[in-house]
Amino acid sequence: MSAAARSRLDPPQSAALAAFTAQWRARDLDPLHAWREQAMQRFLRLGLPTTRDESWRYTNLRRLTAVDFIAADASPDEAPPADAASTSGLPPGAVRIDLVNGYPQLRSYRPVAGLRLTSLRDLARNDPAALHTRLTALSDSEHQRWALLNAALFVDGLHLCIDAELATPLLLVHRTHGATPNTSAFPRILIDAAAGSRAIIIEQHVDTGPAATLCNSATQIAIAPGAQLEHYRVFAAGAAATNIDTLDIRLAANSRCKQFTVALGGALLRTNLEAHLDGAGAELDSFSLLVGHGPRHVDCVNVAGHHAPHTQSRQTARAIAGGTSRVIFNSKVVVDAGAAHAESQQSSRGLLLSSEAEIDTRPQLEIHTDEVKCAHGATTGRLDPNMLFYMLSRGIDRATAQSLLVYAFLADVLTGMSASETRAGVEAALIDQLPDSELLREFR
């Protein structure tokens, strides 16, 4: 923590902090209260991040500090169903569970072989000790202050235990919705993948209209030895939505995680990924596909910690920025002293589509042992005029050629998606976001 952050132990009470405190005080007591209180105190001591905080230097939250955030509706049954438009591009064939403001809608859920599923509200009621044990890990992470706020204020969420190989992807559709503007929601998802299990889980944040909302979500994933998990988080929220998401992944020996972060919508999006390669032979493939359009702000921070020997991490990011958007991708690899023979790759490429857009990428490496293989590369540029002219010279119009080149630029990430129907869904959602999507769809 920097000296600047430390000096703010008694922060000036902004409207947003006051609102979060009021939400905290209005909560019902639950068995997690002592743990939550600790999280809330830590959050208030840290305050909202400013650009003086190292990991927030590119993202100014000043606009949020003046907002009087309203707690999300606790009776989400009244929320309107997601309309067809807002869920276009969701993968077909997946088992779908909707969460409105973090509250899972389980009435029409049919049990899936190999999956045990509980709402966090039920778990808190029936087995608070188990929930507490499962939750403790994240609250240690002080610099992830939004996860602390989520810990204090989440009301509901899902605990997924994957015991075997799931036959179909599992789709969690997040909607943030409120009768008044500035509704804030705090969904929390816990995923435990048992030894040897395999699953694909997609978390998708969909567009619920033009209202200003804040969704501060947190997902904790624990992958047991030998298990394989493919996890997606797709952000396609509305034009005034703020999404802050914290993803914590713990990988045991010889487990494998493919993680995709896809930024397609929202006004402001901040994603955090903290992956802990705890067991020997664990492997992480992280793919970030970040699309900046209009005035959008996308800030993606990934940290991969190698804590055991023979661990591997690969981080691939593709960012495009048009309009006046700003896209930030920071990735960091930390290799502990005990993580001999670790291997890491960081590849990030940015594509600027307008002169007013900005892309910042920063790969970082912190190595505390010898005998490691770590590579990184970062480039940002514009569409290649030679490629463009080649396509024009074949009779392809400029708009289509540009869209195709943008799409091709993102292909490295798309081809990493192993589930074809998942990929088709993400592709469709992505194409919707690209300039001249009609032309592109025609072409495909």
């Binding site: 490629m387 002219f389 080649y390 024009l392």
Partner: protein, 257 residues
């Protein structure tokens, strides 16, 4: 020979500049339907610039003159409209476009041309049959169907792919910019076979080349020598043979003389 057909391309006193440097300094050239013209000349003479200007490359600035293509003002047309009107440039260095499928691009190109001509889009199945037939003719492996545009192609494969595109698009005027460079003798024969198969009374071909070797396989009606951005000498195919023997300095000297 088919010379004497209608005028397909007429270049009058064309001058052009690249990156602030004058490269073309008054080109006059007329190409009639049915003809094959070879443009030869030393490095830096402006051959490739002429090819790129004809295709409509924006960063090449036309500073004077006019070009008429099939009766239309070519310089007023966008590059994509030139292609749709039947002008094809075979690139000296075909561009690799990873992530854009080679066949999709070609299908989109064909459909863009058909749309401009008021024709319906090509049927996907018929297109695949057509392209497989043309690939076989160009002795290309079907593995190229699934690749990105020129992605991972060898130099020779890229040139064959250019000719494949030309055969599918059936242009009125094909400008082939050093299509022969970097080809071994077998590939040269295949490429020549492709070009010759397109020759008919309604089309014309412009071969930009350094070497007379190509002209053994694709016999030109006219040969032009370009130097310093001007056409110094024109003649029939014997001019190419004479150039091979005597070099470009001979043309420059004979012009001064």
């Amino acid at each position: 020979m088919a010379s004497g057909g209608s005028i397909l391309l007429k270049i009058e006193n064309l001058s052009a500049r690249v990156a602030g440097k004058d490269i073309l300094n008054g080109i006059d050239l007329q190409i009639n339907a049915g003809e094959v013209h070879a443009i030869m000349g030393p490095n830096g003479s402006g051959k490739s610039t002429l090819a790129q200007v004809l295709a409509g490359r924006e960063d090449y600035e036309v500073t004077g003159g006019r070009i008429t293509f099939a009766g239309a003002d070519l310089l007023a047309m966008k590059p994509e409209d030139r292609a749709r009107a039947g002008l094809f440039l075979g690139f000296q260095y075909p561009v690799e476009i990873p992530g854009v499928n080679n066949v999709y691009l070609l299908k989109a190109a064909l459909n863009a041309k058909r749309k401009a001509a008021g024709q319906p889009e090509v049927d996907a199945y018929e297109f695949l049959a057509l392209i497989k037939q043309k690939m076989k003719f160009m002795e290309m492996s079907e593995a190229f169907l699934t690749r990105g545009v020129n992605e991972g192609f060898s130099g020779g494969e890229k040139k064959r792919n250019e000719i494949l595109q030309m055969l599918v698009l059936e242009p009125k005027l094909a400008i082939l910019d050093e299509t022969d460079s970097g080809l071994d003798i077998d590939a040269l024969k295949i490429v020549s076979k492709g070009v010759n198969s397109l020759r008919d009374a309604n089309r014309a071909v412009v071969l930009v080349t350094h070497y007379q070797r190509l002209l053994d396989y694709i016999v030109p009606d006219q040969v032009h020598v370009l130097s310093g951005g001007r056409i110094l000498k024109s003649g029939d195919k014997s001019l190419a043979l004479e150039l091979e023997k005597r070099g470009y300095d001979w043309v420059k000297a004979s012009r001064v003389a």
